[in-house]
Amino acid sequence: MLKKGTRCTICKSKNLKDKAVVFLPHHRLALCKEHFINWFENRVEKTIKEFKMFSKEDKILVAVSGGKDSLSLWNALIKLGYQADGLYIDLGIGEYSKDSKEISLSFGERIRRKLHIVTLEKEIGTIPQINSSANKPACSACGSVKRYYMNKKAKELGYSTIVTGHNLDDEVAVLFGNTLSWDIDYLKRQYPVLKEENGFIKKVKPLCKTTEKESALYAVFSNIEYIEYECPFSQGASSIRYKEIWSQIEQQSPGSKLRFYLGFLKKVYPLLNQENQDTKAIKQCILCKEPSFNDICGICKLKQKLHKAPAKL
């Protein structure tokens, strides 16, 4: 816990007297507002370089939801000098989508970058409509639909890379869930960089080493307005339960989340991706031409289920 009156670690080293407002136990750092902002942006920059995500010459597309992670990331990327535009997917979830779209649009105007919008109602159907006919949890169906349109639109719009705001807590929760069920196919693909191949555009996660709290603090310190309430479909989501469990572990043993995630990337991910492992062949969906493991991709099947016409060719 940060004791009142603690001096900022960086200020202290420079003989300055600024008080810390943030304590990062896993880094043993107490920071003032200004040095926390610098620390966060440096961490993003270092992660981009460490995993060779993209360069300042690349035209990148940030998946923007209106939440703290995507907006903080977009803000940091622009401040760091990257050419980052945004893509907002309007999920059609009542007030939640209306508010998050407005927030995203106004943030795009603030940083003077283009925000592309995909409206699911026009493309396939809203998430509430999809949820009533899909046989899987809302968040899972929503994730598949978002990934599909992110990939498709980024290619159509000529971007080289999709950048998402998944943070360390998100990655730990997913890794934990996949480990609980030993879902090897998912574990094999859990890496902060997914290279461009077989019709999939390059996808990267520059916040994979920053926590959800760090991202929220950065948003507050940078005066970023973000959607503060939760998507109504996320109530009871397993990812929230896992995050609460991990928060307890982290509190008892600071650094556990980073250790679990980075240990996986360094020690387990390479084992799972050795060349002699069988990989399921990727085809092209016969309807929309997007990558698919089957003749017809999941999204086109969903469209058929929703009694809509097959995807536009």
């Binding site: 816990m1 603690t6 507002k33 807590d169 709290k213 929220a216 309430y229 939760e230 929230i240 928060s247």
Partner: protein, 67 residues
């Protein structure tokens, strides 16, 4: 002490049975941990030990989001 706090876009009234209330008391009253949540007092992020008055403008940020 009775306090009005903004949490996840809505206002709540907390009744904390203490004369001196800290930011940490507010987090506890909302059943939140400082591992993922923090208090913003009059527009500034404050340490858990910070004393809170009834007249302060209080916002609680819970960083956990799901889905």
């Amino acid at each position: 002490m009775k306090l009005k706090v903004k949490y996840r876009g809505k206002f709540y009234e907390l009744d904390i049975n203490k004369e001196k209330v800290t930011a940490l008391d507010i987090l506890k009253a909302l059943n939140l941990s400082s591992e993922y949540a923090f208090v913003v007092k009059n527009g500034e992020v404050v340490p858990e030990e910070e004393l809170i008055n009834e007249t302060d403008d209080i916002k609680v940020v819970n960083a956990i989001s799901g889905g």
